[in-house]
Symmetry: C3
């Protein structure tokens, strides 16, 4: 079975950093399949990387190794970890980047069925570890060795808590809910933190207020209406979109803007 | 033989959508080779995707599966299709995106040597099909199952017509031809809809007018002249370029601008 | 052993050019592993491509084939070459693009342990060679045939000199050194041409002047100080950075700007 290693980073597409990591991986695990999730995470934006991994990782086959490198604390005493779930392995700095793919308790305790270790065994690292690029010198070689079938316990000591992000969630209001835009996608669709299960069913005529505009109820597809519409997007969240147009431009909307639901 | 699956989408490089599709494919066809053609097609720009596929697909080995996802009609009753030619398979929404790689008649009838089916067999789809991301939920799994060697007839009923784009073509004028810029590439080279065979041979001193500038005859390489020049580009079309410079910036030219040939 | 072929080009991510090259390679060498180093090299910027290859290629396993296509002289009489070192193969136009990965003498003589040939054997090229896209028609098929285990001598005649770039290097001044910014990375970190070995050791309190600002000494990590700092980056060069911020924006700095070291 060919091991798959995915990569999610803020290293961009205009540098050779990601390639150096891939070279290191292939030197250790020549058969590894390398799949890019995204490399244009906003610099140091752990929350965006965490959200993207939550959107993509569940679609990969069991046993996939997900390497996540948004690492503002590189070179400090923040820990590196491997987290194992029933579906996948995650290799990442312990900075909250795994908060969507596993759901730790608010105190960081791991959910049942998951195990984690802290990266301490230097024999799986590159010999010369720079202070500024642990992605290349620690995490890439660890992911590569892991893809050869090693047990996670070989890489360091077991831990039972990890860092956890405060995930954006809607708040109940007198008449409904107030959520936020958490992502503006390539099409200008506005993805909110309001999950499908936070809302009445499709068809119910609740109102949605965003940046001074009011929408009524949910559409099923982008082509249901001309103009602005709301629907449950493919990631399971309420999404404001515009058929063959860019809702973010139309609404001058950005990450963090409020979305009010009036039930 | 390792199956190759290429991907052409408008999903961008700043989202996790393409990665979700790749995860789905690898879950079904773990050995598939995934090659990106382009993911920065302008949103909903079927014509641009069709042109790019016409430029890249012919260079892939026989049997390659080309998955094309620019899909403004997602969730509506537009069809999904597999098209088989003697060289390749194409999996795509039936919206004209295959108009350069095959040359359907203007009424959509398929050329000899090609076969097509409409995607109706749900057993090759993901169990939960979202209304907004058929790339992940229908087309990716279909391409993956196809890469395992299944016959296209297993995926749905045979059809003999597909949607066809009105492809941009030059028009004859009194003194020559009027074409259009159909693509501005990374270098600022202006690719037109005027094919090599529409023109007299290299060396003939016809005139080319574009945005108020006149060029004479064809060069062979970008380095033939300092300044603006015209040549037959690597895709077989008349191209306006500037040596070590950006012709689009120099000429303030964009897709749709006219190019006049005076013979 | 699966052969790895890396690609470094200025062809961008918004065109189908790179995909056409990959299709050609896979048609000849179906098992080749294709890894992108970077495709957003500034158009025709040979020095940037050379620097990026110097940063990434050493991390790939022995025997990797590095294909480099920044080729402003395409179609002219500039040569194509294969260069073999003890670690890797390089397939590229002979225009200085290999100046960081090997260190030719200033007259272009190759260092000991390296061999090179000029590409002349047309049987390894595509049958129809365009005048404007040798990446697809000459270099891609050559790299693919090379990955099948052929000896470099099959591709053309041995040469003992190659083109060499004048690599940016700091100059000694009365009180220290004057270097230059040679790269601004995705994070806004300013990479200079001042190598670690050009400087006193970490901890020594020399001064660094850049765009009117003065920094003192070297930090170890990006998180060592709030605000601007200097450190030796993961590529071995002096780097000006700002913790969780963009030093290039703060300093309005760009490639070519001077960096003064006062010892």
């Amino acid at each position: 079975m060919v091991p798959i290693i995915t990569l999610t980073t803020d290293m961009g597409l205009d540098d050779a950093y990601v390639a150096a990591m891939k070279g290191v991986i292939l030197g250790i695990s020549p058969e590894a399949r390398l799949i890019d999730i995204c490399h244009t995470i906003r610099p140091q934006d752990i929350a965006q990387a965490a959200f993207f991994m939550g959107q993509a990782c569940p679609y990969f086959p069991a046993g996939t190794i997900h390497l996540a490198m948004v690492d503002p604390g590189v070179g400090t005493d923040r820990r590196g970890i491997i987290l194992k779930t029933k579906d996948a392995f995650f290799v990442a700095p312990d900075n909250g980047i795994l908060s969507y793919v596993v759901k730790p308790k608010t105190d960081g305790r791991l959910p049942p069925g998951t195990e984690a270790v802290v990266l301490t065994r230097r024999k799986f690292w590159r010999k010369d570890v720079s202070a500024t690029f642990h992605g290349r010198d620690i995490f890439a070689p660890v992911a590569a060795h892991l893809s050869l079938g090693r047990s996670i316990s070989e890489f360091g000591e077991t831990i039972d808590r990890i860092e956890v992000l405060k995930i954006s969630r809607p708040r109940k209001t007198k008449g409904g809910l107030t959520g936020h835009i958490i992502h503006v996608d390539t099409y200008g669709n506005l993805i909110t933190d309001i999950a499908a299960q936070d809302l009445p069913r499709t068809g119910t005529a609740f109102k949605i207020n965003i940046n001074g505009r009011e929408l009524t109820g949910l559409s099923r597809t982008y082509a249901d209406t001309a103009g602005l519409l709301a629907l449950i997007g493919s990631g399971g969240y309420l999404e404001i979109a515009e058929h063959n147009a860019n809702a973010a431009a139309t609404l001058r909307a950005k990450v963090g803007d409020k979305v009010n639901i009036i039930l």
